[in-house]
């Protein structure tokens, strides 16, 4: 059975991710990578293997902190990648998905990204970064196929 590392985080991301997870959980082996400040999501997927990495999103922090968090998250993601050995990196954002997706790409894994359902006319930061390296890139509003030319619209998760 192919192994998916499902990367998700706080805000709306985990809600939509968990809806999708419920629909495909029997078809693949799953492990999760979550942000380290997200007890709400963790509580909902407690029976599965969960890794954590530092969240990148800065809450009103200066740019240097965001860079620092990005580097720390990349290092942590590297160890997660080595331990998990996934075949596929699947995510719906947030920023924590960026380093692990690039690592996955580097090692020839499949990258699937789902742009958040909150995006009707704008790109998320994770979406912007992961779009060029994704094997499949889903959007959840028809309008978004104009913004992402290879974006796939197949409905909305909720």
């Amino acid at each position: 059975m192919k192994k998916i590392l499902f990367v998700t985080g706080s805000g709306g991301h985990s809600t939509e991710s968990l809806i999708l997870f419920e629909q495909i959980k029997d078809k693949f082996e799953f492990e999760f990578l979550l942000e380290n400040d997200d007890p709400f999501t963790k509580k909902q997927i407690k029976e599965l293997k969960i890794y954590e990495a530092i969240t990148i999103r800065g809450k009103k922090e200066n740019f240097l902190f965001t860079i620092f968090r990005g580097i720390k998250c990349s290092i942590e993601s590297f160890f997660v990648f080595i331990k998990s050995k996934p075949d596929i990196i699947l995510s719906a954002g947030p920023g924590i998905a960026i380093p692990i997706s690039y690592l996955g790409k580097l090692f020839g894994k499949k990258i699937i990204f789902i742009e958040s359902w909150s995006r009707v006319n704008t790109k998320s930061i994770a979406g912007k970064f992961i779009y060029p390296i994704s094997n499949q890139f889903y959007v959840q509003w028809p309008e978004m196929t104009k913004i992402y030319k290879k974006g796939i619209y197949k409905g909305r998760l909720g």
Binding site: R57, S118, G158
Partner: protein, 145 residues
């Protein structure tokens, strides 16, 4: 009753604006872990009985988190959405604009006009939201097998 709810992300600007507005209905506030403590209305941080508050509310005022919005307008509630710009980017306006344009809710852009939004919500017949058919799971499965 008007229920103000922010889910798991604090939103002091909204809670403070509500608290400082004289509203003629009963108001109950779910404020998450935000530091601002309302003085004029009943409030709590979280509840396990959120559904009870949803069903009792005539109008729900909430942030622009898409998950909450879809859920509430899917239940057929009258919703006033306020973008939480305390967050790092402003994407909540994106979804609120779309949902307001389609007559699912009222997007309140100016917190000094919350009473106008309430009056308007009372008079408006909103559309009930039904999500479009979703085949993302099938497409991913097919692609990977």
């Amino acid at each position: 009753m008007i229920f103000v709810t922010v889910g798991t992300t604090s939103f002091n600007t909204l809670i403070k604006a509500i608290d400082e507005t004289k509203i003629n209905d009963k108001v109950i506030i779910q404020k998450s872990d935000g530091s601002y403590l309302p003085k004029n209305y009943e409030f709590f941080e979280y509840t396990n009985e959120i559904k009870k508050y949803y069903s009792e509310a005539e109008i729900i005022i909430t942030h622009g988190g898409a998950g909450s919005i879809f859920k509430l307008v899917g239940m057929g509630k009258k919703v006033i959405g306020v973008a939480n710009e305390e967050r790092t980017d402003k994407h909540q306006s994106d979804i609120l604009k779309k949902m307001a344009d389609e007559n699912y809710l009222i997007w309140c852009k100016d917190l000094t006009k919350i009473n106008e939004a309430i009056t308007k919500a009372k008079k408006t017949n909103f559309k009930k939201y039904t999500p479009p058919e979703c085949n993302i799971a099938e497409y991913i499965t097919e692609f990977l097998n």
